[in-house]
C-alpha cells in the first residue's frame, strides 16, 4: 500500500514535468510562427524599400548613434536575461529576480529610445502615411517594439509570480519560455539592424 502511494506521488510529479516540457515545445513552435510573421514583414519592407515617393530616404532619417545605442542596450538585455536563467538553475531566486529587473529596465530603455526615434521622424514629416517605404519601416520596426513591450509586461507578471511561489517546476518553465522569447527578439533585432538600418545608411 505504502509503495502504491509513493508510486502515485511520483507519477503526479512526472505528469507535471512532462506537461511543462510540452509547453516549452509548443512555445518553440509559436516562435516558428512568429519567425514567419517577421519574415513576411521583412519581405514587404525589402520590396517597398525604394518606394519613397520623393519623400525622405533611410539615409536622411536614420540616426546612427540612436540605433547603435538601441542595439547595444537590447544585446545587453539578452545577456542579462541569460544571467537570470543561470541564477535560476542555481536556485537563486533573488539573483533571478534581480537580473530580470535589469533585463526589464534595459528593455524599457530600448523602448524609450525607439519611441523618441519615431517621434523625431514624425516631427520631421517622415510619417507612416508619407510613403510606402515609411509605412513598411514603421510597421516592421514597430511590430518588433510591440513584441518587446508585451515581453516587458509579461516579465513583470512573472517577477510577481516568482516572489509568490519561488522557483518551482512551473515558474522554471515560465522563465525558460520568456527568455526564449527575449533571445528571439534579440535575433530579430540583429536582422532589423542589418537590413533596415545598416543597409539604409549605406
Amino acid at each position: 500500500m505504502e509503495h502504491a502511494v509513493t508510486h502515485h506521488a511520483h507519477d503526479h510529479h512526472d505528469h507535471h514535468e512532462e506537461h511543462e516540457q510540452l509547453k516549452v515545445l509548443g512555445f518553440w513552435i509559436f516562435l516558428v510562427t512568429d519567425c514567419i510573421l517577421f519574415a513576411t514583414l521583412f519581405a514587404t519592407y525589402v520590396v517597398l524599400r525604394t518606394h519613397t515617393d520623393g519623400g525622405p530616404i533611410g539615409k536622411e532619417i536614420f540616426e546612427v548613434p540612436g540605433f547603435v545605442a538601441e542595439t547595444f542596450i537590447l544585446l545587453t538585455s539578452s545577456f542579462t536575461s541569460g544571467l537570470a536563467t543561470l541564477a535560476m538553475h542555481k536556485g537563486n531566486v533573488k539573483g533571478l529576480i534581480g537580473w530580470l529587473i535589469v533585463t526589464a529596465a534595459l528593455g524599457l530603455g530600448f523602448i524609450g529610445l525607439e519611441i523618441s526615434e519615431f517621434a523625431n521622424m514624425v516631427q520631421e514629416g517622415a510619417t507612416i502615411s508619407r510613403s510606402a517605404f515609411l509605412s513598411a519601416f514603421f510597421t516592421l520596426v514597430g511590430t518588433h517594439g510591440l513584441h518587446v513591450s508585451v515581453g516587458l509586461l509579461w516579465m513583470i507578471g512573472l517577477m510577481v509570480q516568482l516572489g509568490r511561489y519561488g522557483i518551482t517546476t512551473v515558474t522554471k518553465r515560465k522563465i525558460t519560455t520568456i527568455s526564449l522569447y527575449w533571445h528571439f527578439l534579440d535575433v530579430v533585432w540583429i536582422f532589423l539592424f542589418t537590413v533596415v538600418y545598416l543597409m539604409g545608411v549605406m
Binding site: L22, G26, I29, L48, Y165
Partner: protein
Amino acid sequence: MLESIKEFASTFFVTGDPLIYGADVSIALTSLAILFVLTYYKKWGWLWREWLTTVDHKKIGIMYLIASLLMLFRGGVDALLMRAQLALPGVEFLHAEHYNEIFTTHGTIMIFFMAMPMMFALFNIVVPLQIGARDVAYPFLNAVSFWLFMMGAMLFNISFVIGGSPNAGWLSYPPLSEMSHNPGPGQNFYIWGIQISGIGSLATGINFLVTILKMRAPGMKLMKMPLFSWSVLSSSIMIIFAFPILTVTLALLFIDRYFGAHFFTMTQGGNPMMYVNLIWMWGHPEVYILVIPAFGVFSEIVATFSKKRIFGYKSMVFSMMIISVMSFFTWVHHFFTMGAGADVNAFFAVSTMAIGIPTGVKIFNWLFTMFRGRIQMKTPMLWTIAFVPCFVIGGATGVMLAVAPADYQYHNSYFLIAHFHQVIIGGVVFGYLAGIYYWWPKMFGFSLNEKLGKWAFWFWNIGFYVCFMPQYALGFMGMTRRVYTYGWDLGWAPLNIISSIGALLMGIGFIFQVWQISYSIKHGERDKTGDPWNARTLEWSIPSPAPLYNFAIVPEVKGQDAWWIMKEEMKNGEEPKKAELEPIHMPKNSGIPFIMSVFWFIAGFGFTFTWTWMGVVGLIGVGLCLFARSFQYDTDYYIPVDEVKRTEASLGRVV
C-alpha cells in the same frame, strides 16, 4: 438629441432592403426564443458549466460542428440568392451593390467560417481518440481557439445587419478594399472577423502538431499512425507556416485603412499586387490545408468499408507530406495575368502541374484499396466513391488552368468558378460530410438514418453536376465571375437556368440532411458497441460517446490498424493484458477563453467602426485575461480510480 440618434441609427443599421428587414426580424425572434428557452428551462448554469467553459476536445469539436453547419446554411442561402439573380437575364432581384456583398460573404463564410470549423470539428473529435490520447496537448488553448473562431465569425456575420457587409470579394483585393474605394466599415468587418478567427486557427495548428508528435499511445510509431492523423499533421504544418502570412497581410491592409499608410494604395509608392501575392502565399496552402484532412477522412473510410488495409500506406504518407511542401510554391498561378513574365509563370505552371502527381497517387491508392474488397455502401462510403470522379474532373480542369498561356483565356471566367467549386465541394465538402457521417456515432452515440442520408446524397450529387457543369461552358462562352446580370443577346440564359436548378437541388440535399439529423436524434440506431462500422482504428475501441477521459487504460499499439489487430487477437482467444487503473490527470474547465474572446470581439467591433476607445478597451480586456490566466496555478485535477470504475461500468465495460 433625437435627431442625432436617428442619424446614427440610419448609418449604423443596414436599412432600405426588405430582405434585410426580414433577416432583422428573424434574428431578433431567434435570439429571443433562445433566451426564453434557456431561462424557462433554467439552463444558463448548464450552458456555462458544460459548454462555454469546457476544455474537453470532444465538446469543442461538437461546438465547431454546430457552428459550421449554421454557417453552411448562411453561405448556402447566399449562393441561392446569387443563383436566383443569375437564373435569367435582366432579373431585378438583387441590385449590383447587394450582389457584390453577397458574393463576398458567400466566399468568405464558406472558406473561413464553414470549411475551417468543420475541419477543426473533425480534428478535435477524432485525433485524440485515434492516437489513444486523453486530450489535446493544450486543452485550454484549444478552447481559446474555438472561442476566437466563434467571435470572429459573429463579428463577420453581424455586418449584414449592422454597418454593412464587405463587398470587395472573398480575398478583398486592394485598391478596391482600400479607404479610397471602400470607406465604410464593411472591409473592417472582413479584416477583424478573419483576423480574430485566424489567430485561433494558428493556435489550433500548433496544438495539433504537438498533440500528434507527443501524445500518441505507446507503440504507435509515426509510421503506424492512422492516415487521418497523418493528414492532420500535414495540415497543421501548413497552418503553422501559412497563417502568419495571412495575419500580416490583413494587418497591413488595416494599417493602410486606419493609419493612412501606403502598402497597397495606388499612390505614394503603394503596390496593390503586393497584397495579391501575400494573400495567395497564404491562400494556396490554405486550399491544401482544407483538402488534405478530407483525404485523410477518405483513407479511413475506404479501408473500413472495403474491409481491407489501406493500399500503399507509405505512399499515402509521402504524398501528403510532399503536397504540404509543394503547396507553398504554386501561389502565382492565381494571377498569371499579373504579367510577371514567361519565366516566372513557367515555374509556377510546372509546380502547379507537379502537385497533381502526389494527388493522383492517392486516388489510385483509394481505388486499389477498394479493388477486391468487400465494399459496404454505407453513406460515408457513398460520399467517398462520389468524390473520386468529381475530384478527378476538378483536378483535370485545374491542370488546364495551370497552363499559363491558356489561363489568359480562363482567368476569372466561370470556367474558374466551376473548377474551384468542383475541387472544394467535391473534395473538401464531400470529405467532411463523409467524415461527419462516419464519426457521428462516436460523437453522439447514435447513427444517422441511412435512407434519408441516401436521399441527401443523391440530391447533393446530382445537384452538384447540374449546377457546375454548365458553368464550365459558360466560362468558354465569355461569362466572367462577379457579373450581377447579363443580356438575352449573349446566349447564356439556358445554361444559367440549368445551373440555378442544380443549386436548388443541392439546397434540397441540405434540407434532407437537417431532416436526417433531427429524425435520427429521436429514432437513430443507438450505438451500444462503440464500433458500429466494424472499423480499424483506436477511436472505435472505446464506448460511444467516449467518456470524459477517453481511455480508462491507455492502449498498447502493436501495428497499423491497432483496433483491428486487437479484435483479431480477441477472436483468436487471446486475453487482453490486464492493466491496473490509475487516477487520470485532467485539465479543469475555465471561463477565461470565452471571456477573452468576448473582449476580442469588443476590440474588433471598436476598430471596425474606428471607435478607438472601444478597441483599446477590448485589447486591455484581452491583456487582463492573459494575465489572469498566467496567475492561475490550480489548473488541473485527478479523476480517482473509483470514479473511472463507476463510469466504465455504467458504459457496460469491465476494467
